[in-house]
Amino acid sequence: MSSLVAHRKAINRRPVGVRVSFQLVQPATPEEAVRLLAGASAGQMSVLGGGTDLLIDIDQARASPRQVLSLRKMPWRYLRWEGSSLVVGSTLPLRTLELDRRVQQQLPGLWEAIRDVGSPALRARATLGGNVGRCSPASDLLPMLIALDARVRILGPSGVREHPVDLVLQESRKTNLGPAELIESLIFPSAAPSTYMWQRVQPVNDISQVGVATAYLPDAPHWRIALGGLQPRARRLSEAEAVLRSARPTHLEQELAAQEAARRAEFVSDKRATESYRRRLVAVMVRRALQTTIDRMPRPAAARKPSR
């Protein structure tokens, strides 16, 4: 009993934002989850994936839902390969993806981006679904998801729809998901040589000033360059991609693409970096990420006879 009294005292000493209360609902099936969301009044029910963004938003009074809907019982903690495409359930902890050897080999850029999210103990809970749902302009995963042409499978009252991630993202804390819709899974259409690079003040648990994702996809346009750390959210830079005309662009082409990326990106100055610093970073990082991606391509079979 005395420890409970101490508990109350400790809680009462905390900043006001931390004294929160809500009702947790833990539906057993996706259908039930969608039904509960559809029945809730606007802004009253938040969706909980791993909670690493939402719980902090609640503590800091940026969100004050009366009810929190947990996705814990959803059958979405899976990872499977369908040919060379990877399907990841939205509630799979990032840590599981990170420990998968095939992910590391076939989607090296995705693996790198995942390893940059917080710490291992954070990744034990944080999910892909939550990263997309939060839509942070500083996210380390979104540039890579965009560069890899990831598709988002969305479940709602009228069934399932699927869109490229680029069309789902809007701005910080805003996606085009309807109030009763949930992200069920993410689909990475193909294995791809890819690279993710970031720049931060501290290496761990800090927010990236800039993130650069590059990938070489089997489908045209092959080269993809996406940036994070810009407003209102991560985006592809097709102008920079267009400079790259072959699987192994020359140094000059890489340099031109990097400069184009630095010129086109909508950076802003904030407490993490100035706009001009971000541009200079990006010019260097895009060049390095392209070269790393090229180095990750399977070696051309030197002995093979030309086909014609």
Binding site: S21, G51, S119, A121
Partner: protein, 158 residues
């Protein structure tokens, strides 16, 4: 809203707590209801690792986990880790290396390191073990002594 009871498996025991609010974090349930004060609260925002416990064997931040989201996964705190040989070896290594100054961060480090050492028969190299502790902050030691403790602990369990 009345707070319902909650059952958890903690350090090999079934524990039942009366009236736990839905918004309560595992960190608070462990410290204030289970009386397991070894798990520390540093930042409450996922940044420091002082609150690290094992959930289903994986190092997890108990400050960012609702107690009701744990379900039937076993929870192991520093008290549980300290009761098994690997945990004891890690604690001894920290003491011998002088890796404990104020000690506030130590439980988190020990839990995270013991989990890595317990995962496979042959422990990973020191560098990757240290990498695995990247989410644990220490304001006192400057990390050198902790790196020495990692090497010592690795040797001890080999």
């Amino acid at each position: 809203m009345t707070d319902a009871a909650l059952a958890l498996h903690i350090n090999g025991q079934s524990r039942r707590f009366a009236s736990v609010p839905d918004a309560e974090r595992l960190l608070d349930t462990l410290r204030w209801r289970a009386g397991l004060k070894g798990t520390k609260e540093g930042c409450r925002t996922g940044d420091c690792g002082a609150c690290t416990v094992l959930v289903g064997g994986e190092p997890t931040l108990s400050c960012l986990l609702l107690s009701r989201e744990v379900g039937d996964e076993p929870v192991t705190t520093i008290e549980g880790v300290a009761a098994v040989p690997i945990g004891q070896a890690v604690i001894k290594a920290f003491a011998e290396a002088g890796a404990v100054q104020c000690g506030y961060c130590t439980p988190g480090f020990v839990v995270a390191l013991a989990a890595q050492l317990g995962r496979s028969k042959s422990p990973p190299d020191v560098e990757s073990l240290v990498d695995g502790l990247e989410g644990n902050l220490c304001r006192c030691t400057g990390y050198r002594a902790i790196e020495r403790a990692v090497a010592l602990a690795r040797k001890a369990v080999q």
